[in-house]
Amino acid sequence: MDEPSSAPEHELFLFLASTAHDMKNSISVLSGTLERLLGGAAPSTNPDYPQLAHMLYQTRRLNDNLMQLLALYKKVGKPEYPFDLRPLEMGHLVEQVVAVAQVLLGSRGIRLELDVDPALVWHVDEDLVVGVLSHAINNAIHYTCDTVRLAIREVDGWLELRVEDNGPGYPPALLKAGASAAREIGGVNFMTNSTGLGLYFSSEVAKMHRHRGRHGALRLENGGHYGGGCFVLSLP
């Protein structure tokens, strides 16, 4: 067992947590207001509509990054992230992801296709997995042509969650970074690769899911249903 964290470190943590709490409030208000504005406007009548949609996208990115940083800080520093495994129906999981993403999708005119057995039950940390999938969908929205597909199914005792798009696919460098992120921390260059944090976070979330000696994994590939980018999370 490790020693309990030292007092100054603990204080720093409390300070960061309360600052993050404050920032979250601001982001909540910002993204809530944007959703409201988008809800009341139509692309045809409001010339600012595309800008509003872009603002929502950026706000979501800000939020995701903040959430990921905080969760990673907790994992890497002390205290650790309170991992919370519970049985969850995939229908409910998808409901959450859709609820988070629908306004942004609608504002960009992007179709979300679902291929999920809603009654399938798996043991996951819901907040983390919703965070990972939302982030992947946000990302796909940015690169896709007009469709994003979320597919969840059981494959040989694993839960496979796929976010696919019909865009040009991941560039080779990112496919490589994705592969190394799935292996270990060292492979991702946070300074030059803006997607690094998200991938690193997602692969950490995958690894936290453990069952009878196996742990989850993340991989990036091109192809899938539409020949675009595929973000694939496998959980035991």
């Binding site: 067992m1 809530g32 650790e80 495994l85 959450q96 859709v98 609608g106 179709r111 679902l114 039950v121």
Partner: protein
């Protein structure tokens, strides 16, 4: 589901159970609690979009309590961090403890990030769901619907639980597991707890094993370890708790239990060290800090005890869980540090703060005062406190709980009294005549007061008194004189109000009376009262669960409402009355 949808058109999401009855969220009463005005407005706007008209707002825990005391809400959206004063968890705990929310009330706890408490807190103090900011309208609606569906699955079970008909509640769990696979794990967890409350640890263990066969849930592992600990397998339990901690450093309950295991093994130092770690990790628990204070004081770590008690008082300020123990403990600390003045100041504030809810507070304050003087060597004042305690005892027939009685008797012997402590110890024996460990403890107190032989005789006389009372009742019952048996046991309860075997037998005889001569509302109410009393004294007894179940079955059924499940064999298996000890 194989659906394609244009996002933004809503209503595409998978509904797991496949049968959502539309809930009328518009007609409900809402309370929004957040210290940040922007978030309050945002949540209010989201609720209005659902059609909600009645939305109250509070900006602090205190304000929320005021509203909760006046208005019954259907939905509470409460932020965890509320600035100074009560936090969201404390608001929830107090609202539940004071019955300010209905079982049907949906309580959603909102926070900026996941907290340790949200994962590791005791199940009965959990809200219906935690929501992480930012909360969009869509998220809010899906979570409301989900909680509502879940409440439907648990409604009947919760009701049976609230009525303390644990065995029926457990059977309802089984029925729901068959119908709602998605809730299986939660239902099994609840069933295990019900089995523990029914004094059926072996069956609880089977349930935990069934959970572990599916997934390594740490609460199930802890559940089994607790059962083994209760069974005296301290070393095995210790290893299991340590295994859970190795797996998840944040499972705070495992630390608390590990500390107990060490305590049971007589390893107070180790126990204290573990509690200290748990308190560093999750400091805002009143019971944990109190426990730490007590054990630190016991092993002479006065500084640590002081710190724990002070923290306990500070976090208790806004908590419904606060008790006088930390004040009394801190007073003892001050006594050890030769600062009786500060000790007295603390005792006065304990007296003031807890007078309303703790009727025995005067006695406990006075005992602590006596101990403080006794330990700091002021024998004159200690004797004076002793004399005042004798007066307090003479003035009332009520006696405090067993540990307080023993403490009091020890103190009174210490300051030279005799009659009052002897009376107290005999009272303790009469009410616990079949508890050999306690008898030993009492004998030890007599020995230390150099009354060994006299004490032995007194213990035996008190034991016989209780046994005779019980046996006469059993004899009447066995010879079919049910009415007389009921009357006799009623009188016996007057003489020994806290003897669990006499209480159980009294309830059993009343049940038999009704089974043979028909339901009687007065008798039924009396039996419930007796059983609830014994459950408070010693929770988790098998006979409690069995008698509660039999009482419920005696209740006449309202017209048109059938019995919704079959009476199984175990319901009638417990129909025996204790015989002679």
């Amino acid at each position: 589901m194989n659906a394609a949808a244009h996002a933004g058109t809503g209503a595409l999401a998978g509904n797991g159970a496949g049968k959502i009855d539309e809930v009328d969220w518009a007609g409900k009463n809402y309370l929004v609690v957040d210290d940040f005005v922007g978030v309050r407005q945002l949540l209010r706007e989201s609720l209005r979009s659902l059609g909600a008209r009645n939305i109250d707002q509070a900006s602090s825990g205190g304000e929320a309590m005021g509203l909760l005391a006046r208005i019954r809400y259907d939905v509470v959206l409460c932020d965890f961090n509320l600035g100074d004063g009560k936090n969201g968890q404390q608001v929830l705990e107090e609202a539940r403890a004071r019955n300010l929310v209905n079982p049907s009330t949906v309580w959603l706890m909102v926070s900026a990030e996941k907290s340790v408490e949200s994962v590791m807190g005791a199940a009965e103090h959990q809200p219906d769901a935690y929501l992480i900011k930012p909360i969009t309208e869509g998220v809010l609606l899906t979570r409301l619907n989900r909680v509502w569906q879940r409440k439907q699955v648990f409604r009947q079970i919760d009701q049976a639980y609230a009525e303390k008909d644990y065995l029926r509640a457990a059977r309802l769990c089984d029925a729901q597991i068959a119908a709602h696979k998605a809730h299986e794990i939660d239902l099994l967890r609840l069933k295990a707890r019900l089995m523990e409350k029914s004094g059926e640890p072996a069956r609880a263990r089977e349930v935990y094993e069934a959970v572990l066969a599916q997934r390594e849930y740490q609460w199930a592992r802890v559940g089994i370890a607790k059962i083994r600990m209760a069974n005296g397998e301290f070393e095995q339990a210790r290893q299991m708790f340590q295994g859970v901690i190795a797996e998840n450093r944040h499972f705070v309950e495992a630390y608390d239990q590990l500390a107990l295991a060490y305590q049971n093994m007589g390893k107070s130092e180790e126990s204290c060290a573990i509690l200290e770690r748990a308190a560093t990790m999750s400091p805002n628990s009143v019971p944990r800090q109190r426990h730490l204070g007590n054990i630190a004081l016991k092993i002479g770590k006065v500084g640590l005890a002081e710190k724990a008690y002070r923290k306990c008082i500070a976090i208790g300020e806004y908590s419904v869980m606060k008790t006088p123990d930390a004040y009394l403990g801190l007073a003892r600390v001050c006594g050890r540090k030769n600062d009786p003045k500060e000790a007295l100041r603390l005792l006065m504030s304990a007296q003031r703060e807890f007078a309303a809810e703790h009727p025995d507070i005067s006695l406990r304050v006075k005992i602590t005062e006596g101990l403080v003087y006794h330990e700091s060597g002021d024998e004159r004042r200690a004797r004076k406190a002793g004399a005042e305690l004798e007066d307090l005892l003479a003035a009332s027939a009520e006696r405090p709980d067993v540990p307080t009685c023993l403490e009091l008797a020890t103190l009174l012997f210490g300051v030279g009294a005799k009659e009052a402590p002897v009376e107290l110890l005999c009272y303790v024996i009469r009410n616990n005549h079949d508890n050999p460990l306690l008898l030993e403890e009492v004998q030890k107190i007599f020995d230390e007061a150099e009354m060994g032989e006299e004490g032995l005789a007194l213990i035996q006389a008190s034991k016989k008194e209780a046994t005779d009372l019980m046996n006469q009742g059993v004899l009447l019952w066995k010879t079919g004189k049910l009415g007389e048996a009921v009357d006799w046991m009623r009188e016996a309860r007057g003489k020994v109000p806290h003897n669990q075997r006499i209480l159980f037998n009294a309830a059993q005889i009343m049940v038999s009376h009704m089974q043979q001569q028909g339901y009687d509302a007065g008798l039924s109410a009396e039996a419930y009262e007796v059983l609830h009393h014994v459950d408070r004294l010693l929770p988790g007894q098998q006979r409690f669960a069995q008698l509660m179940e039999q009482l419920v079955l005696l209740q006449p059924q309202p017209e048109g409402e059938g019995v919704d499940e079959q009476e199984d064999a175990s319901a009638s298996a417990g129909r025996t009355v204790d015989t002679v000890a």
